[in-house]
């Protein structure tokens, strides 16, 4: 308890709190610009933190890390361009909801779900870090392979319309994931001799292209179509309704928040699992709930066409990953994901190394980081509500003819800033064209993104697991040595078979009904 008090004492310095607030504001803005994300913002802040006091720099980073995902959901909802990778799925139901005149509700759900997930995650970091870290350590190559498999199985939940088209998208993602050096040989693969492809196709420009550039092309097409018809171009969605959630909506979303926060927290503490996996798994789980309880009822849209749960699930899950990804870093010195790894850089510049020693040598800093996550998530709520109208109004309320070049410029700047190279812009443009064509063919993009991220994880962990087992594949289902892996594989099998079982059951039921009618 005294440690927590020490953390608060360090944090409650007005200047430190000021930097936390700046971080939250910066995160909302950075997140809302496609292509810019917490990773890139940290890369700019870390050199600055050299001259700042460590408490200021860390408070800034915590604030930014927490609010970035909220910022990302704003363009996802307003123009269907995810600001960050964390809002890839939010864009689906979020934008559909905004188009139906409920942009305010969609944003309100995104903010409240994010705060719920974020607070749950901060509490896990504050109260359960040591046992959770011990659990995280049990994830080796074998477990991570099986977890990747489970993640891929959750793609099936996204395939609403056509199973085949969804699978094509996933396979495309897996293929792109093979570009870059192979961990097993240490040699480049399919890089066409381009240095910039050595670490794989750069993710941020690809994402910007696939969603941002594609959306721009869609908008331009709409604009041209409207002009040709002589009609005045339709406006983009505006916030005309209330941002606040009423009690009924809050009560309705509570189970979604709880379930997705739990998923986010567990995935967050596992080093290397990544935020996207949590988002997709949460989205998949909740899709079943929605279809069971709400789909087809009067006033309820189909899943993927503006369901409130379709926003709440990914937004609660992505913020639940944030603070929990600091659990292995602070307890063990092992970064939970690429963003929390950057905290190592910021601490190192001050001569500190995360891990058990930080709590002995610098308890004030260690506990300040922990309580800062809680405070940042709580502050994020009013700040987001206050700012969301301004941010969404600033850019996204423009007429389409202005919006098209503006988003293009934002997207390409974002792509460029990833590695400060023109190559990234090329990747964004190429991905945009591919995205536009595949969309015309009705191929969804969400499975592609997850497959792209998991392809690498699955391949690398498979290679290492088999190296350890001496080529023995039964290691993945060994109930004694790797019970977690066995459970994950069974889970993946259940995910894959459940839709089939449901289908069969429905067919049987339909036949039974027909018989009765006859």
């Amino acid at each position: 308890m005294t440690e927590i008090a020490l953390g608060f004492a360090t944090l409650l310095d007005p200047a430190v709190l000021g930097f936390l607030m700046i971080g939250i504001l910066a995160g909302l803005i950075v997140g809302s610009i496609p292509g810019l994300n917490d990773n890139i913002a940290f890369a700019i802040f870390i050199p600055l933190s050299f001259s700042l006091s460590s408490t200021y720099a860390l408070a800034l980073m915590v604030g930014l890390y927490c609010s970035c995902a909220v910022g990302g959901s704003i363009p996802a909802i307003m123009v269907k361009v995810p600001g960050t990778a964390s809002s890839v799925l939010t864009a689906i139901d979020g934008h559909a909801m905004a188009r139906s005149g409920k942009a305010g509700q969609a944003l309100g759900i995104a903010i409240t779900s994010s705060v719920f997930g974020g607070v749950s995650s901060a509490l896990v970091l504050l109260l359960f870090a040591p046992p959770m870290a011990a659990f995280a350590l049990r994830f080796g190559y074998v477990e991570n392979f099986s977890l990747g498999l489970l993640g891929m199985a959750s793609v099936l939940g996204l395939l609403g319309g056509s199973m085949i088209k969804g699978l094509i998208s996933a396979v495309l993602g897996l293929l792109v994931a093979t570009v870059g050096f192979s961990q097993q040989t240490g040699l480049p693969r399919f890089t066409l001799g381009i240095d910039s492809l050595y670490e794989g196709v750069p993710f941020v420009p690809l994402l910007v292209g696939l969603f941002g550039v594609t959306a721009v092309l869609d908008l331009a097409e709409e604009l041209i179509r409207d002009r040709r018809k002589g009609a005045t171009p339709r406006q983009m969605p505006r916030i005309t309704d209330s941002l606040m959630l009423d009690w009924r909506m809050t009560k309705r979303l509570l189970p979604t928040w709880l379930q997705c926060s739990a998923i986010g927290n567990v995935i967050g503490i596992i080093p290397g699992a990544g935020m996207l996996m949590a988002i997709y798994m949460g989205y998949e789980r909740i899709s079943h709930r929605y279809k069971r309880l709400f789909a087809g009822k009067p006033g309820e849209p189909e899943w993927g066409e503006g369901a409130p749960e379709g926003i709440a699930a990914p937004e609660a899950a992505n913020n639940a990953v944030v603070a929990s990804s600091m659990v292995p870093l602070l307890s063990l010195g092992i970064p939970g994901n690429s963003v929390s790894a950057l905290f190592i850089g910021a601490l190192m510049i001050q001569g500190m190394v995360p891990g058990p020693l930080l709590f002995i040598d610098h308890p004030d800093i260690a506990w300040m980081i922990i309580v800062a996550f809680l405070v940042a998530n709580v502050l994020m709520w009013p700040v987001s509500y206050a700012l969301v109208r301004t941010i969404s109004g600033l850019v996204f309320r423009m007429p389409k003819a202005v919006l098209v070049p503006t988003i293009s410029l934002l997207c390409l700047t974002g792509a460029y800033s990833d590695e400060n190279s023109m190559f990234s812009i090329g990747v964004a443009l190429a991905a945009g064209v591919v995205g536009y064509v595949t969309r015309r063919l009705g191929i969804p993009h969400a499975p592609l993104i997850l497959a792209l991220v998991l392809g690498r994880t699955i391949e690398d962990n498979l290679g290492n697991a088999l190296a350890i087992s001496g080529g023995d594949w039964t290691i993945f289902v060994d109930p004694v040595g790797h019970p977690i892996s066995l459970a994950l594989i069974l889970g993946a099998a259940a995910f894959m078979l459940a839709p089939l079982a449901a289908e069969t059951r429905n067919r049987y039921r339909r036949r039974a009904t027909l018989k009765m009618e006859a």
Partner: protein, 321 residues
Amino acid sequence: MRMNWLSKSLVAAGLALAPAAALAADFPTKDVRIVVPFKPGGGVDASSRILAEYGNKHMTKAKLEVENRAGGDGVVGQTFAAKAKADGYTVLAMTSSVVTNPILKQTGYKLEDFRPVALYNTDPEVIAVGADSPFKTIGDLVAASKQRPLTTTIAGIATSHHMAGLALEDAAGMKFTYVPTTGFGAQLQAVMGGHVELGLFPLGEIKKHADAGTVRILSVAADSRLDILPEVPTWQESGLAIKRWTTFRGWAVPKGTPDAAVKYLSDLLGKISADPAYIKQMNDYGFLVAYKDAAGFTEEVNDYAEVTARVIAKHGLTEKP
């Protein structure tokens, strides 16, 4: 008085050379950028920024600026520096990978495209196990590794750390099964979680974790025992028959950079390396301060190139054409 043709030419040549000489003597007249070929936050970036901070205390007319040019696992920034103007204003934060990348990958530069300026840090390789490992001493580990291959995490195939393992197999008869990861954090997870039996690390990446007691360093590939690790035997003392295995960090400039600029930068690193505050900050990270001037650094680079070339050739690490 009439000058003959020769003296006229000499005067002309002197006039032509004068600005160049003045330029070199005045170096630097503008900011010098240190190209870090990785994203901010890693060891190369952090040490470069510390150097810039201390270096700027000694510089009056210009400053050191750190510039990150990440991509291609270092190759993008390294190629950029190799092709920069050879005037001393572009300095590469040179790591061991500049030696091996041109051999292992098809890079657009060669090692010979660089001129070593000075060395500021060497990082000896260590053999480390998790705190719960049954191997208490290096003797236990060597004995076990002669019975069966031990699973060993390394930061990547064909990295200096992988080559250290191959060299140990050759020199000491140990046997390893390599488990490559993409970074030191992932390696730490594997060692601490008991998913592998040992790891090969650069000391700087693992020292603090050994201090925290989460991992145990069994042996270090340094010439003699280190002040910061008095209990840990060297590889030579452990009977591993390898005197030293270190990666290095230093500065290099494009080939053709004027001597005066190289001398200025080399002396600057020497001055920084003698600053006690700098030494303390580097040691806080687990970085050993080891200064060598241009000649000494060139020798270090050549030694490293020779040793690694042997391992690469013997174990066929290069891309098959």
